[in-house]
Symmetry: C2
Subunit: 279 residues, 2 copies
Amino acid sequence: MKIIDTPEEMQKQARLLIQSGEDIGFVPTMGCLHEGHLSLIRIAKEYADAVVVSIFVNPAQFGPNEDLDAYPRDFERDEKLCRETGADFLFYPTPQNMYLDGHSLWLSEESLSTVLCGASRPGHFRGVCTVVAKLLNIVMPDVMVLGEKDAQQLRVLRRMVRDLNFPVKIIAAPTVREADGLAMSSRNKYLTPAERKEAVCLSRSLEKAKALFAAGERDAERIKAAMRAVIEKTSGRIDYLEIVDDETLQCVSKLENPALTALAVKFSGARLIDNAVLR
Amino acid sequence: MKIIDTPEEMQKQARLLIQSGEDIGFVPTMGCLHEGHLSLIRIAKEYADAVVVSIFVNPAQFGPNEDLDAYPRDFERDEKLCRETGADFLFYPTPQNMYLDGHSLWLSEESLSTVLCGASRPGHFRGVCTVVAKLLNIVMPDVMVLGEKDAQQLRVLRRMVRDLNFPVKIIAAPTVREADGLAMSSRNKYLTPAERKEAVCLSRSLEKAKALFAAGERDAERIKAAMRAVIEKTSGRIDYLEIVDDETLQCVSKLENPALTALAVKFSGARLIDNAVLR
């Protein structure tokens, strides 16, 4: 596995791969890798000849009061995991190399980004779209693998790829969960032991929603009330808990088309997200 | 010369060219081609194996009170000129193919775009950056040739390519002028015969600036006053007339570093722009 730390060198390597006819698979990450990320790398290997993993904690997608500085970083461990999982290139640029002096170009998604995490985290998806556009131009992948855990991010980036005609196919990978159902996340380690036990409430509330939907319930308010009841038994504070149209991300009251139910819950140590599609 | 009207087909052709090892040169235009555009095509041919010309009157870069509907269009003539000048592909998409229903992704350049034409035409460079990002992803060129006549556009797009790491090299081509010095523009045909004669005032004012600069004048206000005097002898109304730093596009009072002098003048039939670098 080759470690590359500048955009110029990564782009050069990507050109060489393309010229030699190899398909490039790409897994963008912020590091602190867990089994969820590794599943993305394995999927990328199925679709492509060469797999590039990027590790970049993107300052532009963190708000001024968010956890940029505290975000967990462990490059040595990440490098070992990438190598063991079969990545061919690890792209690990510095913020200074990614955002040059006077950086003044930004992408914004103006529809899907305005709700859910976008409403709670202003500027977050502007940062995500901008860095992923940069990464796509640097890595030039044929396939990019993204996790379904970041449901809104997946939909916003699908929209970006569509609207800007990026020549890449996005593959969505199922959320990987701990034994008790908690979605794997780099932020789980911020939880206190007591909160870690309570954190299963997110996946439990989604299971509740799925069970009600399977039993024929189509009223969004009734499903959300049942989900809220699961969260409210814990110390977690609901940041948002919504049922939205899976295409437009606009709130729905009756579940007629595929719907996304998504929630964010704040514990003392971390804000966690999870989601499920009801169809 | 192959005429292509969908982004999908253009992207497919671009991939084939790349796979066969050919370098792609790209000239984006809004059609109504004149000798200025043809010079860009000829330059692209010097740098690349295959030359793609796009013709797309981009609705997103016109303001609500601008001349989108009136913008001159003559596809048959343009096609003939492209063919004669040696273009290999003519990409001619419809607005519906370029902006799909629910298009919600926009680029914005937040520094260089705020002055000169950007101040007079709010949203213009947002439209320009968005469509050029799309075109770069569709045509996948190694080289893009842009005219120096659109000085601010050239600098904004250079910034876009830098900040978003687009894998393309931008070549700037000198402005092509009529015999009397008027910069060629698709909008010149809107001028009345009397205005056409007066329109030489733009290039004359730039010549005046260059002469003063060559004679040692470094005071921006004095140079601008002399330029304004040239315009004010005509029926043209100055939209802007500025001397700015060539890198940052911020106004300068003393000319110490390379400076861009740029102006826009409104006649009854058309708003014309021109510029020169003083170094």
